[in-house]
Symmetry: C2
Subunit: 500 residues, 2 copies
Amino acid sequence: MSVLVTPYAKLEAQFTELHQIEHAQSMLSWDEAVVMPHSSGPARGEALAALAALAHRTLTAPETEYLLDAAEAGCDSLDTWQRANLRAMRRIHTRAVGLSEALVSATQIAAARCQQIWRAARSENDWKVVVEPLGEVLALAREEATALGEVLKLDPYDALLDTYEEGTRAQDVMRLFDDLKAFLPDLIDRVLAQQTAPLSVQGPFSPDDQRMLGEEMMRTLGFDFTRGRLDISHHPFCGGVPDDTRITTRYYDDDFMESLMAVLHETGHALYQQGLPANWRRQPVGNCLGAAMHESQSLFIEMQIARSRAFMVFAAPHIRHHLNGRQGDDAWAPENLYTNTIQVRRDYIRVGADEITYPLHIILRFELERALIADELSVSDIPDAWNEGMTRYLGLSTDGNFADGCMQDVHWFSGLFGYFPTYTLGALMAAQWFTAASKSIPNIEEKVAAGKFGPIVAWLRHAIHERGQLKTARQLLMEATGEPLNPRYFKEHLERRYLG
Amino acid sequence: MSVLVTPYAKLEAQFTELHQIEHAQSMLSWDEAVVMPHSSGPARGEALAALAALAHRTLTAPETEYLLDAAEAGCDSLDTWQRANLRAMRRIHTRAVGLSEALVSATQIAAARCQQIWRAARSENDWKVVVEPLGEVLALAREEATALGEVLKLDPYDALLDTYEEGTRAQDVMRLFDDLKAFLPDLIDRVLAQQTAPLSVQGPFSPDDQRMLGEEMMRTLGFDFTRGRLDISHHPFCGGVPDDTRITTRYYDDDFMESLMAVLHETGHALYQQGLPANWRRQPVGNCLGAAMHESQSLFIEMQIARSRAFMVFAAPHIRHHLNGRQGDDAWAPENLYTNTIQVRRDYIRVGADEITYPLHIILRFELERALIADELSVSDIPDAWNEGMTRYLGLSTDGNFADGCMQDVHWFSGLFGYFPTYTLGALMAAQWFTAASKSIPNIEEKVAAGKFGPIVAWLRHAIHERGQLKTARQLLMEATGEPLNPRYFKEHLERRYLG
């Protein structure tokens, strides 16, 4: 019997190998952030760069192009999942061959250098020293955007945005953001005028107690600890692979809520990752959809579920138990803890901003990075533009305050342009998912208050997680919510929660 | 200006990439043993297998053969290190192309299956169930031995032994082992007749206290914590890479000494790894020499240094301090702790055997595995042969006791034949190194007793660590000790310590 290996089957084998390289990259990155000794960085950096080059070479091997053509010509014999897989392979391949290895490598080196300089300069509020390296990174990002734009027939900025959120264009983002710009500033005024300060909860809270609380919340939400972990890192993140999903947080002695909310946020990411289709783990179609979809899952858990009054009814006794809170102390009451989680404040820093001011931080960055990529703004003009934007949107001057202004985020300094909008797209999407879930799950608030998250997570699994990349984000939204992304649900959610 | 890339330079680039794949393999293996959630094993196994296949393919690319030939033809222009590097590359390449990818893959699959069956069967003392899978593994090991033997012009068993200890042949091992067989049984009788039992030290000892003790000992010996860690795993090991060296131990509430000695043993391995030549980290010549040399470094620290009276003079106050021992209690006195570390006992289990009976465990395994590879012993005859050997060498019957007999070690069940002798070669070598070091370092015992290990580790660095694979093990021994491996130093060491 002769076995015919089809072009499609050969591609699956090749992408399985790529998946295994990604497994290694993902675990080495986790290790770097969580356990690696501090002087081992250079060797780790070299290893990660070599794996990236290896993956790029595997992907751009001359044979791949031929196999993709042949598989697409014979795609009648493929089933729906295979066809979606082939489509995802083509997308990855097109983007890889669109960039020369020289450009990829130059970007990586420039970004690593810039990020290193930035890290030291930020703590000294020294803008001048980052101008040159950031200029180099930006020039390479423009080159990348142009090269990708040519291949994908997109405007340069759209080509970058499309990397993180397939099919989304700057025009779509602008339309949504214009809506928010008209809505949020006034809402913030009204909320600030009427919000009350919570009673403060007395620490110190030991890291071990906080960890046990976090783990209990994760378990209750459905995180599978036989295929995942919770650890500590400088910035919370969700990493690893679907069969080994690792989230992190950090602990503060005097504030358990920030850490707990980070755990719940990352748990949202983790549920998505752990819930991906088991049969397609090693193939592109088995991956998560873009960054906005991922963020919608973390914000669904954090913003729609965990920062709700109902959730605190469930969580308060567990919080008090793990953190040794005094019985009968009003500070530990659900209502006070809830009030604690929904405080609004105009502030300089995006990370840690509340959900009402957060989109304004994003809108500022989106507008500036579009101008940067379009060559309408130069690096040396960033501080003034930042100050002007922050003053306009949040009434805060960052004049001379680079560390808390345009130097606060790692993104640009590490070559990441086009990513920022996905945070807010995710927030809008989360509200839309939650509205749809509330319609389909009876008494959802009571379930949350009782800690019965099973039906809610099952709804997410069915509507999103187990679909992988079978469909686009837009198609999933249409199927589960009946319409494309609509900011209405986010705005209604904010009004209900903060003015209700 | 045109840049000429020489064949040798191309090989360096290719082997750098292999080094980075090994970096990933090494870290993923550490992760698997130390932090990986228990259901993530299959995905990790697949990733590791894919990386191994990738490395094999890189190594056996048609171009490599041509590059090696060309570089060897032009080796006059290379310096000493480069020439040694080229020699190491050729060795790795010859062994890789000597095995078909099909055989490598079949071995990996059979070994993984057999190991899994063995793990469950051992705890149930069930020999019958492992006969078939072990037979399959053995058949593949014979095939590998034959294939490598043809390429290397060696007897099959020698070809395997040469994998772990270049240039060493079964004949050499037999000569050394015959010497030990004539010496050890009588020595054991004499030691047992005169040894005294130590006072027992009262626990429990918390894992945290034990860890802090271990870390202090590591630091004092020169372990670099900015490029390494100490963690917990089921079996102690030394892993990672030179720039990120990770050792492990396990802790028992009632016995701190076993864990401490494991830490010191692995620290010996770690000092070797951390001390490899910094300029050659990414090339074969910058690697450790074989398994015996590695074991000689761990046993130098554990057996020659740490289980000495002088070491306990230094260590006892630190041990008492970290483990909250009672001042003035004789159990915590240096002499009693020393007595504790040198107890001799005829026992079933190799791991944890004292240094006098240990070689007899190894000799038994060496004799059986030679017969297995030579097809003079079949898998079904192993239990009887084991029982016969244990009775002869240690006066212990393992009749019907498979778990504590021929099923105790993972080696054969995971396809490892030809490795066992290196443990005892390492012990002999360690004694020879120590004798030479004692001649060249004035008052070595006083230095040990004062915790001044700097000159001793510097001696190891100079004689061994920083040489990488520049020379063979035999050449290093000749240079530093004036003669090839000689069991005399080991025997003298045992007599001095146990009868002295």
